[in-house]
């Protein structure tokens, strides 16, 4: 399923922060996690992730460190910062509110 571009843009940062809340990760793994969580329904362009990661890092919501992959390649790992946690919680509440409104709307219209 191709997700509307605006919806993708609106949700991307929250999704990335939510994934990183579960532990440190890196770019490719984050993209794969999104595919896994959505059952393959949400597919990001791989390249759209990196500007988001750089913006979140510049805003102090994630930290980055250079490490190594299993084969010794340089790899950049990201982790969520304490500053991001209340922001993520607030985003979660907002999305749940919007989701609840949508669900009630569809129920009303299909009833």
């Amino acid at each position: 399923m191709k997700i509307n571009k605006d919806l993708n843009a609106a949700s991307a940062s929250t999704i990335v922060l939510g994934i990183l809340r579960g532990g440190e990760s890196y770019g490719y793994a984050i993209v794969q996690k999104v595919k896994e969580l959505s059952g393959g329904e949400v597919e990001w362009t791989d390249g759209m992730l990196y500007p988001i990661l750089h913006r979140l890092e510049a805003d102090g919501l994630i930290n980055a460190r250079w490490g190594e992959s299993e084969t010794g390649r340089k790899r950049k790992y990201y982790e969520i910062t304490p500053k991001a946690l209340p922001i993520l919680d607030d985003d979660r509440r907002q999305w749940m509110t919007v989701n609840a409104v949508m669900n009630r709307l569809w129920e009303t219209q299909t009833a």
Binding site: G27, G47, Y50, P51, H54, E57, R73
Partner: protein, 194 residues
């Protein structure tokens, strides 16, 4: 399993980002091979899924630009710098007005020196220099220009009235650089990232 090189596609990209994208491309490539693709197919597939590295690089630079108006706000430091510069500029202007016989050229020169430090700070900041380097360059340029003007147009009333000591000039240049940098950063409330 030998990994292909993506250096030609990643040339011209900042080294750190190129390393990050190369790791991503190689992971994609290896996943493609595991799914049964040939080496060429896996390589092309990884490049297609990533998109244009140069566009990604430009967007990353834009997103992490510290001068992004979405991110910048006037900090206490900036407010002090702008306030200090304004006070010094007003101080110079008031001393000029109090002088017994200030010429139009002298008045214009004093105003130009005050504005010069501010403009230099703004221009230097636009070159993406760090604040300490911007202050140092502004100090140097304002100092040199001021000393040259004072040597050429040394009027007795300047020495008596304005007391343009090196320390005062240095403060003017420093405040000008900080103020110029603050104004260039387009102070607006930072948008919450989400």
């Amino acid at each position: 399993m030998s990994t292909p090189s993506f250096s030609s596609e990643l040339s011209g990209i900042p080294a750190a980002l190129a390393a990050e994208l190369e790791d991503h491309l190689i992971e994609c490539y290896e996943a493609g091979l595991r799914s049964g693709m040939s080496s060429d197919e896996a390589r092309q597939s990884s490049l297609r899924s990533l998109g244009s590295p140069s566009e990604i690089s430009q967007r990353c630079l834009k997103e992490s630009d510290p001068r992004d108006p979405r991110r910048n706000r006037l900090s206490l430091q900036h407010r002090v710098a702008i306030g200090g510069w304004l006070l010094m500029a007003i101080g110079f202007a008031s001393r000029v007005c109090e002088a017994s016989d200030p010429t139009h050229a002298s008045i214009a020169a004093c105003i130009a020196m005050s504005l010069g430090a501010l403009v230099m700070g703004a221009l230097i900041r636009r070159q993406r220099l760090s604040m300490p380097v911007a202050i140092a360059l502004s100090l140097g340029l304002t100092g040199i220009a001021s000393l040259a003007w004072l040597q050429v147009g040394w009027h007795p009333w300047i020495r008596e009235t304005l007391a343009l000591t090196p320390g005062a000039l240095a403060l003017l240049a420093a405040f000008g650089a900080l103020s110029g940098g603050a104004l260039t950063a387009a102070p607006r409330p930072a948008a919450r990232a989400a």
